[in-house]
């Protein structure tokens, strides 16, 4: 073996040959060519093709699988509307009819079981990393598996938007009464909050939001956050953007796969899907974390968007409404009650730690950076 002292030297060619078997090739007669059939799985999504973040995630997932498998496992990817309607994906995967997998938010299926909300996000729930920790370490995955098995599906975390903004409105929300009478696009359990406040919540797939907004069918919108909202042009219709969002603190995008299909995959194929989902769970969050600030900046500077912070009393009153909603959910079924109990117990452990670690650190750092000349000055424009 040749040892070269230079730290920038190339690896020993001779050693590399030995390790990869090139030099010994003629002596190693064992065939290294494996003939494996190609397994093709159809992936449908609830996102329009090309949508930053949400649609980019299943596209990257597809590329990861198709590349890692060397052609033995192939994902055929279809965006919303290309093979079926966005909200048709659940039944298609459940029945194994036209699709093997979906990429979606599980709270879209709350009409089947309200417990599905807890596997996307719930108001005053968990941030992205907290949610992943509950799922992986706090018993969440087991509860999710039991719920999804009722529908012949196996679910995985496969992306997260991070904490979302609190929605777009024609006027700033100064008190709860300001929400009365508005027709707002908002999914999941947050819709129950707005209904309790006298608003009219509407659930629409993302791709239908711009048309509904521009036609006047809805007069307020909660979509994702600056990165996606800018893409949809929400700022062209509505001027007032509220924060921080209380309704979706860490919105998980899920990969749901037909349970029989999942069980029929071999260990390597299952490991590929699990690894790609876990990787995308980080990559999508990284994308939103990197892009959202610039998008919000652009909205404020170029389009005159006004950003307002929810008053503390609004936040606290909404929290009371959410507690009532959670209590009601627990009475719906023993399975839902078990999910609610697990989730809220984990949150009770996490919230005091997160306030001091994440909350205090991030807010103090931002205040400090605002005082520095090189800090992003746009956030000085935020109206409290």
């Amino acid at each position: 073996m040749t040892k070269t002292p230079s730290k920038t030297s190339q690896p020993s060619t001779g050693r590399r040959r030995v390790l990869t078997g090139l030099a010994l090739a003629p002596a190693l007669a064992a065939p290294a060519v494996h003939a494996q059939s190609t397994r093709v799985l159809t992936l449908v999504t609830t996102w329009p093709r090309g949508l930053p973040g949400l649609a980019a995630t299943p596209e990257r997932f597809t590329n990861r699988i198709n590349t890692m498998s060397g052609g033995t496992l192939k994902i055929d990817y279809f965006a919303a509307g290309e093979k079926m309607g966005a909200f048709d994906s659940f039944d298609a995967v459940r029945q194994g009819n036209g699709a093997d997998m979906y990429h979606a938010c599980e709270y879209y299926w709350q009409g089947r079981d309200r417990a599905y909300n807890f596997f996307t996000t719930v108001p005053f729930g968990l941030t992205a990393q907290e949610f992943s920790t509950w799922v992986e370490r706090g018993g969440g995955q087991q509860l999710w598996d039991r719920l999804a098995a009722n529908y012949n599906i196996k679910g995985f975390m496969c992306g997260n938007t991070g904490t979302q903004m609190g929605g777009w409105y024609a006027q700033p929300i100064r008190s709860l009464s300001d929400m009365r009478g508005i027709r707002i696009r908002i999914p999941g359990l947050a819709a129950d909050i707005f209904r309790a406040l006298g608003a009219e919540p509407v659930s629409l797939p993302g791709g239908q939001i711009p048309a509904a907004l521009f036609s006047g069918e809805i007069d307020a919108v909660e979509w994702v956050g600056p990165y996606n909202d800018l893409e949809f042009g929400v700022h062209k219709v509505l001027r007032h953007y509220m924060y921080p969002g209380f309704h979706e603190p860490g919105t998980c995008a899920a990969l749901g796969i037909n349970l029989q299909t999942w069980n029929s995959l071999d260990a390597a194929q299952q490991a590929m899907i699990q690894a790609a989902c876990a990787a995308e769970n980080r990559t999508m969050l990284a994308e939103y974390s990197a892009r959202s600030g610039a998008a919000l900046n652009q909205m404020q500077v170029e389009y005159g968007t006004q950003v307002h912070r929810f008053a503390d009393d609004v936040y606290n009153q909404v929290a009371e409404i959410v507690a009532d909603i959670m209590s009601g959910l627990s009475s719906e079924s023993p399975q839902t009650a078990e999910v609610v109990q697990s989730f809220t117990a984990f949150r009770a452990q996490m919230a005091p730690f997160a306030r001091q670690m994440t909350g205090e650190t991030v807010t103090r750092r931002a205040a400090y950076l605002r005082t520095r000349a090189e800090a992003n000055q746009v956030f000085d424009d935020i109206v409290d």
Binding site: K3, R15, A35, T133, F246, A279, M350, P352, F353
Partner: protein, 354 residues
């Protein structure tokens, strides 16, 4: 590396291109895959148990995903710089450890593990994946003959352990404070004396993570846990491959390695957050007093650290450039982190009475 290992790896090695004629006879739609069996020797950059567990999990995942054609094999441990030089020289394939332990090679390596008052793990990944950080990291590492891939993070840590609340900078003047990495630069800039933990006679210590702090006896020795995070907002871990080896890997092999490394980052982050959350609860119930520093002191310490770090990185041309990029991204991501996760966690706790 022992001759025995080489012999074993010779036997493990497969071959590209053998038997193609036979494969061609296989009926479509079967995929004829010419698979080389490649074993990569990974040396730990120190003997930390966390590295051993991390490498074991990563190796199992890589072997499973690749159907055994790509394997990571533990090849002992060495001091960080020596481990990386072993890799650069081609006598191992990758080194596993914290990039900031490579600061003797270039201080800019500290920017890829933990920067006082800097990015947290989520933000760091955003910088690396979508903010140009990986490109900067690659440029820095290429000069040392290595290619870095993020594979984990120990997570955020609180400010540290003190005998009394940290009210003013005078409280730590000339105090021996245990720290590591770039934390030492910030501690020194604040007027204290940075020392390694096993040096003895310390007046305070940064937090190395609550679970580790408890094992080290810090929580027993000091009653006050100073908050929030100050000197170590993250502790990233990387797998540093031989650069030429990395370039020689197939697209399939690189995708397997990067995807599995990202998956392990996810696993480690959830594990660490779970452990730290539980440790925090145990400590509070056990009588540890949380002692938040004032906004003014935070700003003073952050400003001093910034100036000292700027001076440190100015000594390295590439370091100065990367430091500017790091700060630019920090300034952009900081406001969003405050508007989103930061204020939510503060308001959530208040609304829930926690």
């Amino acid at each position: 590396m022992s001759e025995r290992r080489l012999s074993r790896r010779q036997a493990l090695s497969g071959q590209v291109g053998l038997g193609l004629a036979g494969a061609a006879a296989l009926a479509a739609p079967n995929v004829a895959r010419a698979q080389s069996s490649r074993a990569l020797a990974v040396v730990a950059m120190d003997g930390a148990l966390e590295y051993s567990a991390l490498l074991t999990r990563l190796a199992e995942r890589v072997a499973l995903v690749s159907r055994g054609t790509l394997r990571l094999e533990a090849a002992g441990a060495n001091a960080p710089v020596q481990a990386v030089q072993t890799v650069a020289n081609g006598n191992a394939d990758a080194a596993l450890g914290r990039p900031d332990t490579l600061m003797p090679l270039d201080p800019a390596f500290g920017l890829f593990s933990s920067v006082p008052f800097g990015l947290d793990p989520r933000e760091f990944e955003a910088w690396v994946q979508h903010g140009g950080g990986q490109r900067d990291w690659d440029d820095l590492a290429r000069a040392q003959g290595i290619k870095p891939v993020l594979v984990g993070d120990f997570g955020s840590t609180f400010g540290g352990w003190f005998q009394k609340p940290f009210i003013a900078r005078d409280d730590i003047a000339n105090m021996r404070i245990a720290t590591e990495g770039l934390g030492a630069v910030a501690v020194e800039a604040a007027g204290a004396i940075p020392v390694v933990l096993d040096g003895g006679g310390i007046g305070a210590s940064v937090s190395f993570g609550l679970t580790r702090d408890m094992g080290l006896g810090l929580s027993q020795a000091f009653p006050f846990l100073v908050t929030p995070s100050l000197f170590h907002p993250q502790r990233a871990i990387a797998l540093q491959f031989n650069a030429s080896l990395w370039d020689s890997l197939s697209e399939e092999e690189r995708m397997i390695l990067t995807t599995c490394c990202e998956a392990e980052t996810e696993a480690m982050m959830t594990e660490r957050l779970d452990l730290e959350m539980r440790a925090f609860g145990d400590l509070v119930r056990g009588g540890t007093q949380s002692a938040p520093i004032s906004d003014a002191l935070y700003a003073e310490l952050a400003g001093l650290a910034h100036d000292a770090l700027s001076e440190r990185f100015a000594a390295s041309p590439i370091g100065a450039s990367i430091w500017l990029n790091y700060q630019d991204f920090l300034s952009k991501v900081s406001g969003w982190s405050e508007v989103g996760e930061g204020l939510f966690t503060v308001k959530r706790a208040a609304a829930l009475g926690m």
